[in-house]
Amino acid sequence: MNALTLWLEKYFLPIAGKIGGQKHLVALRDAFIGTIPATMAGSVAVMINAIIRDLPPQFFDGYDGNSIPIIREIIGINGFVWNGTLAIAGLIFVFSWGYNLAKAYGVNELSGGIVSTAATVAGLTFSFSGTLSGLSLDEGTIASINEAGWAATATDITAGGWGWIPLGNLNGNLFFTAMIIGFVSTIIFAKLMLANITIKLPDTVPPAVSKAFAAIIPATVALYVASIFYFVFSKLVPGMTFLDWIQETIARPLLGLSQGFGAVILVTLFVQLFWFFGIHGPNVLAPILEGVFGVAQIENINLFQQGGTELVLEKGYMWVRGSFDAYSWFGGSGGTIVLIIAIIMFSKRKDYRTVANLSVGPGIFNINEPIMFGLPIVLNPVMFFPFLLAPVVSVSIGYFATIAGLVDPVSQQVAWVTPPFLLSFLATGADWRAPIVTLVAMLSSFVIWVPFVMAANKVEPESAESAQE
């Protein structure tokens, strides 16, 4: 094991370290983390609506939360919370992204956030249009509609207007465009700031004013570069915004790829491998976990708010960031709450039982440092195989149960410290079948862990320790 550790330190850890310490990727991770207050508040609103509006009709015929006093008002208030959070999650992210990138470069963070937001919004559509066909309109109606600014014929009405940004341009759909435009514009801004191409004011000017003025030239250049790009793009690809193009050519294919069983298993395996060798898996893999599966989750939450589970099933994603938490990482990565139970039931080793007893409390809330380092699992050859295999099996169970329609897809964001069964129940928009799937996944993990716990009974604590040295 010592040779393996040395090999890892020499060849593997530097790569993981470069990925985990790469300032743009760290900024991206922090940008996603920075949106959590908003996305979590929005998720709470959606979840409460799920419980008081969407869940009861499954059990009570004729239930309509929108017609019940107090419930109706709560639903309305939750709608406002959603408006300001998940409905514009992309807009919140693009500011956070620019802010964190500017921070990584050591320049004015607030201006970085503003530049990123402005440059991204500059390329969005500000108008809407729609046509109704197959109508039978009289002359008076046609004249009134045309007078109002829309276009009408005897059979069609074409409605249009300027000054409207579609909500679909500000929600999860904005993420990939924001990642590209926000990145380029903020980098231009930061480079010019660092090159000192700024307006300099006398020292007597208050710092806030001085800082804002210093950002004028870099921000203007960054915004003009983005705008020239949009202009050229509109000539090359007429009738399509850059966002629409990114959605069609990058976002949807990438999100589609993430839905494959192979991709899900690969991510699961890598997270486990990283953990086992003492590397923070989700940190290193944050660009994938948050940048792809996290975006898919926000899409699902928004779809749920708009049309409940039916719309998620129709247009949403089957496997998202929270699916890992719901069906595999119960008790923490590796599904270690199951290991704790297995040790309490089958282990004859005093050291194992002591650690397991101490780990129960944190484990219920998915905190597994005590068992990971106390047992330890990290670099423990006996635990290597089940630590890798159990999550793969439990993810597979959750994945195929979702694909087969046995359980609704995860459509809510739930804090990862939520206890296992409650987590999957809430994450699926209060689907009562989700805790059952979690239980099946747990039982399967249990079957995998038990033989290794029993095998560890035959290993002397000292020899296990020396295996790690």
Binding site: P14, G17, F277, I279, V378, S466, E469
Partner: protein
Amino acid sequence: MIEISSPTQQDRIIELLTAINTDDVTFTFKEKKGISLYFETNASDLEEAAKIAKSAIKAEPWGTVLYFRSVPCN
């Protein structure tokens, strides 16, 4: 005494922590057991000393991706 559990970068952790020498806290490497490293410290508040050690490791380029534990112990 504090315990740092980390399967990798143990030499660097020892080097880093023993080099810390502020008015408030110093660390002296005592022993290694498996993945755990034990350090004596002059700090009266062991919780705080463990936090200082954790922050110092996380501040290193190689420490950002480490999954490790820093806890007080007897």
